[in-house]
Subunit: 349 residues, 4 copies
């Protein structure tokens, strides 16, 4: 199957290329870049020299619709909504990695958290499926527009959904202390938060109150819990490393539970999900243990002293938090095994 | 004043030496090392070559009592309690940086969290003053045995005490998400948690349930709140950096408060404390902003959506979390200005 | 084909496992560990949880010879020589990643650089083939004992061989300024050189005069140059990163050459070698551009001011410098395409 | 003495402020910033909050000449030459940290390496003294314009001058393999070379052939050797750390010398220079051992196999390579002890 990637110079695109290179059913035939059309991809990403021989091109929706069956949007926010409708109308399936354009269902929240722009028309929002395969596999199979989840929402909701669905925790108590590497900020748009001399040997909390992943997390949790959920998700922290997200979550257990009971419940909940690994009692996963891979690893600890459940969920933000999950979604949309092309082991050390 | 440092090859000692080198009233005349007596300090720490010319010696309590007026113990836990009584009895003041030996007042908790050993006899515990100058300045002035606080307790209690004393928060709600650089683990005792290839480009939670700083934090908070306080302080996380602690704390506000009101209250609370800096509204401190210095910087955010107060407190774990605070305590004990010898600026970047 | 790995808890073994997991012709059936027999591999390396389900076992040469066709030795120096003869005599092919046991042909140098032990008997040395596929492909095909090259020798000799063979440089002038990440020091044997707090935000030169890779580099260069070659390879430097080697080499050109001419010559020299990439004029490779992959990337610059040729060669020390090259060698020994199982792209960023 | 700093938002300025804060004879009364006039310094550098209370102002040469006795220029290249003549003519002494404006004496080389601009008029070049105190102390005492050396030239020339002056090495053989942390690139002017996700876990060589420190190094060495010196100084490498330069130098010894003899000679050469430390035989300094301090540490190794002398010189690029050295020069210019205000120990770890 021929596919295109839009946003060719970002980390999302280059990570899609890494996995798709060894995917047995897919061929990346077009890489589209607004800022670098006419340039060889390997000039922008020299690690691809002598491996990927593709010149980036400008976007032409009409051509694209004739030449590929599926398009990945690895673009900044507020871009994909301008192009996906036309593609979908011509029968091209679209996977959107790019922000809130198709993730949020509430236009007001979209405007509040994504710079005040108007949402795409409701009929396309209705077509869009939120692509967290562990929750929505059946809907994903039919998706023409796939809204690929954000990195923090992926790590966080996979950690919280089981106890919320089983109604084991106080819903007003959810605290998410999130930490991310710097690559989530992308390659472009340099700021002091990704400046080596400022971030090395430093740990900082970077945004108060208005992180755009808050409404996305709350939308997913609310849908699963059948009840309005508000979470404390601020400030997220930046770790002096490139890849990795850890979401440390604190919730009040309604009734006393042992760590072992909760682990057994999580294992059962995710027993058909090849990319979620629940750790044994006493073990908490670290970000390095999923580095470069599509796994989400979850550790649990029920603190008997305080009645709190602590959930630690780790992913590689560029893989399960972006491009790996996009490929997992593509696999499901195309009827392939969801692990196809994603069976690389974490790189350690 | 002549002073001695016991535990000469650890990071605590070497950081004491850095500050005392420029202290106008103090001269380090003895450095004692069990494992390296007879070796020049600069051989173990080559950055001191041509600056500090001292051979480390073995411990002889009798000699020491004659030769110095004050002794710093920068030793592992369960060491200082064997030597401090004899020194104090001979009129030598002691500052103990070394763990729970003189910090905890409850022998059972000491045994539970510090490897099952018996506590030093109660009369010496009674002489010991817990050396957090922002809380105990008057008592510190008189101390013969000064129990220097742990790194996590310092960052955490300075962040929590004002709202606890003013009774603004629900006391069962306290969650402390703590993060530390690797130097807290010391130079000796190498383990995978401080192995470069394992910790670089990694973020991990390292201990569940039984961290020895829990009873210390709870003892301080309980004393100030006049009510039994239990906190959720687990797991602490390790950041791939050498120095720095950030304690991100979440508490439920009893009544709605604006961020600005709370900041004003904290500024007032610490108005006489030169090493506590409260950040302006909208600003959260990062660990680098106190790097190498004795400051504790605190940022606040009252989340109006969820009614939570988020408190972020950062210190350099080797300075305000250990050696800098020890010198601040010494200054107070000796009647000098508490900033003496500690007026070096944070190193940035 | 069933294979075994000896030295199961080291980085060499775990990197073999990463690549062999997706190798179409090979199945790792035995992992042998002296120190951890009886333990699940995933307990020692939690990133393999739910993926690799193998208990490590103790070494029994007799059993091994019956059960596998090929054995990888990822052991410390001075181990493999005690076991490889027996295995080879029973028809098991062996690939030795472990140091000088079968790399050096000169017993005196082996003793001088590898701790004074005696070399294995000459008949086995004679059977051993030095496994740098870019030089020795034909011999490797027949090898029963494959001596897998060291990490520094791989990066260095691939950079130097073309100009030495073509006799373009003064042979007394070779200077190799080598830099490595910390993972070359392995997981065990913790020392201050791999202690996070000591190596982070630090750059050091770590050994003077006697690095054990010197005789190996000189042996390879001498054989290709048909003349005794001595190199300046000291001190190698440690970079505060986990993976990657850069070898910056300086040689005097006999006659003036343009950078472009030299690049063309290198491209021609390596035209049949899929894992060597020569960079275009003006571009120098960085270690990240080969991270996690089996590539050796080489950049060249002929300084017209000084008549020096500067050669920069980078590899991932754990891949092309160890386990990836071992698999490449296995592929050649078994008659498979040399890239089989090694076609993963570098991970960037 | 009142002084001003021009270029207030750069790392050079903030490092000047760190040291001058504790300088007994100097008061920084003006901080000038083109881009941030009207902003509090502590807003741009929050680590200075509650310590330095200064608003940055725009440059007014006339006012400045009346209000301060000495001005530090911590500006980009090609700025100071437009202002220093007017200040000097009004009797204000100037220390220029900013690049080649007053360092190079040859107008053609200045144009070739500094963007083609014309040099300042020769009479001011004649007034300028190159401020490497270990070489020029007497001239520095009289300087009205002090050209503060570049970071690479400082580390490199301090390592090479003794053997060049004593005529112990072949002058055509000098190779300088230089490595620097990222802070040398400054805070502004973000590029991929200082982007955290690109530089972390990476090691790269960043510039071929035309580094602007080449003519500066050659000018100093030529002056001391009384003979035209050309060096191979390319490519410099970037280390994934913030601070520190290591210059590893390779030269051919004319006659055989032991390492011990050479060390003795270096110790003698620098016996009156408090900031140069020569390491004992067998010991090579690391960058961390001078971190945050004004030391230049030098290690030597005479390789008896190859006749090469290897010299390793390390500095903190922001201190001895910039602001610390500027203060050392100021001290000498003002007749104070050259260590005044610079006696802070290296920070370790």
């Amino acid at each position: 199957m021929d596919v295109a990637i839009i946003g060719g110079t970002g980390y999302g695109a280059v990570e899609l290329i890494r996995f798709l290179h060894n995917h047995p059913h897919v061929h990346v035939t077009k890489i589209i870049s607004h800022s670098n059309s006419g340039t060889d991809l390997a000039e922008v990403y020299p690690h691809l020299v002598d491996i990927i021989d593709l010149e980036m091109i400008a976007l032409d929706i009409g051509d694209l619709a004739k030449e590929v069956e599926l398009v990945f949007f690895a673009t900044p926010s507020n871009v994909s909504k301008h192009y996906i409708p036309a593609l979908v109308d011509q029968g091209v399936r679209c996977i959107d990695l790019s922000g809130g354009d198709f993730r949020l269902r509430d236009g007001e929240k979209y405007q509040a958290y994504y710079g005040g722009e108007e949402m795409v028309s409701q009929s396309y929002i209705n077509q869009a499926v939120y692509g967290l395969p562990e929750l929505n596999k059946e809907q994903i199979k039919q998706a023409s527009i796939l809204a690929n989840p954000g990195c923090f929402p992926t790590a966080t909701t996979l950690g919280l959904i089981p106890v919320l669905e089983k109604d084991l925790v106080e819903r007003k108590s959810i605290i998410i202390d999130a930490k991310t590497g710097t690559s989530g900020a992308g390659r472009g748009g340099l700021s002091l938060n990704v400046h080596f001399s400022e971030m090395n040997e430093n740990f900082k909390a970077y945004q108060l109150g208005v992180h755009k992943h808050i409404p996305e997390i709350e939308q997913v949790l609310t849908a699963r819990a059948n009840e309005d959920i508000q979470v404390t998700f601020t400030p997220p922290h930046i770790v002096p490393m490139t890849r990795g997200i850890m979401s440390t979550m604190y919730v009040d257990l309604k009734d006393s539970q042992s760590t072992g009971q909760l682990i057994a419940m999580y294992e059962d909940y995710y027993k058909n999900d090849p990319f979620v690994r629940i750790r044994k009692e006493g073990i908490i996963p670290s970000t390095r243990e999923v580095y470069g891979s599509n796994y989400c690893d979850i550790g649990l600890y029920a603190d008997q002293r305080t009645g709190k459940l602590i959930i630690v969920s780790v992913i590689d933000n560029l893989v399960k938090g972006a491009s790996g999950q996009a490929i997992q979604n593509m696999n499901i949309m195309c009827g392939w095994d969801e692990t196809t092309g994603l069976n690389q082991l974490p790189i350690y050390p």
